[in-house]
């Protein structure tokens, strides 16, 4: 048998083997976490321990008035993306007949994640203000975590 032929076959097998090894890799698309959303859960104002769904909920981001949630029924919680361009975000939380405005302020920190995910922002010193009117449907807000860095619930809204 011609040793050159053996060698050639060996190279072909080697190439196939290497192609096999490398074929099973993930595409370089972002699968790590991006900027975390603010996670909110709704609770009963009468009994703080029990969860209470909102019958119909609208959430609108100010000042552009982009609709985030449009009349979703039986909402137990939601996550909203905060504004990464400023230290302030404003949202209107509305039921069918009642509009309440919430103002969030915080400090931002930019963190590098990975090649495919780029940079994300994490939020610290989160504070919430409820604009008072004659008839707020939101009775009380509790901040559980002042740092928005991961997916856990950061805010409890009692109604």
């Amino acid at each position: 048998m011609n040793p050159k032929k053996v060698f050639r076959n060996f190279i072909i097998i080697l190439s196939l083997l290497l192609i096999g090894i490398t074929a099973c890799r993930k595409d370089d698309i972002c699968t790590d976490e991006g900027t975390p959303d603010l996670k909110i859960k709704f609770f009963d104002a009468g009994n703080h321990a029990t969860e209470k769904t909102v019958d119909t909920l609208y959430v609108i981001a100010l000042p552009k008035q982009d609709t985030l949630v449009a009349g979703q029924t039986k909402v137990s919680g939601l996550s909203i993306p905060l504004n990464v361009n400023a230290d302030l975000s404003q949202f209107i939380f509305a039921t069918k007949h009642n509009k309440d405005t919430l103002v969030f302020n915080y400090t931002r920190k930019t963190v590098f994640v990975s090649k495919s995910c780029g940079y994300k922002v994490i939020f610290h010193q989160l504070n919430v203000y409820l604009q008072h009117d004659n008839n707020n449907w939101i009775k009380q807000i509790d901040i559980i975590y002042h740092d928005v860095v991961n997916d856990s619930t950061h805010l409890k809204i009692y109604h």
Partner: protein
């Protein structure tokens, strides 16, 4: 957190490293054994034909990567790759190459320049039996490569899936200097003497990244000579179209 991540990445690829080392080891052991048998056959025929045995001329080729140069020019970047190969022993070649790259990347999240150079040293073996005085190659080869490069991050955009307030690009003009990377290449190559002493050829190769620098608040993305690094794998793929000129002594 990023440190932990890179550690896990390393751990996952440990099995792959083992396989690759075995293959390279196999190749290194296998190469010297194949050669003497073929050499023996050649001397036999020479004796039979009673032709005066001539000294094999030392063959040195100077090459230039045309594909890389043209591709870079089309993409507002700049790249050069020069190499020299010397036929130092029978069908074995020694290869040295040098390349420079100024590569521009602009995706949705990052906008940056990679500027740097790389050096390669390697061995190549010609598998092709030439007819008469023809001089063509079907080669297989292995290279070790080292790159030294800088990043200049012009701007970035915050990654926020489902953003209501669309993240604006942030101008930084920040540089991340003195990064290094090392990798191994295994390739096959065809070279054809088209004009006298002028060769055209191409190769396709598999690259395996051995290591790369850690960067604070950034990472190794594009590597000159290696192309884009994949986040989940140390393997890369490469292709070259080149032209070379042969000097004879």
């Amino acid at each position: 957190m990023t440190k932990k991540h890179s550690y896990q990445l390393f751990k996952n690829s440990e099995i792959k490293i083992n396989i690759l080392y075995k293959i390279i080891l196999f190749l290194v052991i296998f190469l010297p054994f194949t050669y003497p048998i073929t050499a023996q056959q050649k001397t036999d025929t020479i004796v039979k034909d009673s032709i005066i045995k001539l000294r094999q001329p030392i063959k040195i080729r100077l090459g230039f990567d045309v594909g890389k140069y043209v591709w870079a020019k089309l993409n507002q970047s700049e790249s050069y790759d020069y190499y020299i190969d010397a036929n130092f022993y029978k069908l074995y070649y020694l290869i040295l190459s040098y390349g420079y790259e100024k590569h521009f990347t602009d995706n949705n999240l990052l906008n940056y320049h990679t500027i740097g150079s790389y050096y390669k040293i390697g061995m190549m073996y010609n598998l092709y039996d030439n007819w008469l005085d023809m001089d063509n190659d079907i080669d297989i080869g292995i290279n070790y490569a080292f790159a030294h490069f800088d990043y200049l991050l012009h701007s970035y955009r915050i990654n926020q899936p489902g953003a209501i307030y669309i993240p604006e690009p942030i101008q930084v003009e920040q540089s991340f200097n003195n990064n290094t990377a090392q990798w191994l290449e295994l390739y096959t190559q065809i070279q054809v003497e088209t004009l006298k002493h002028v060769y055209l050829g191409y190769n396709i190769g598999l690259k395996y990244l051995i290591n790369y620098s850690d960067i604070d608040n950034f990472t190794v993305t594009y590597i000159p000579g290696f192309f884009n690094r994949n986040t989940y794998s140390r393997f890369g793929f490469g292709m070259q179209y080149f032209i070379s000129y042969r000097l004879t002594f």
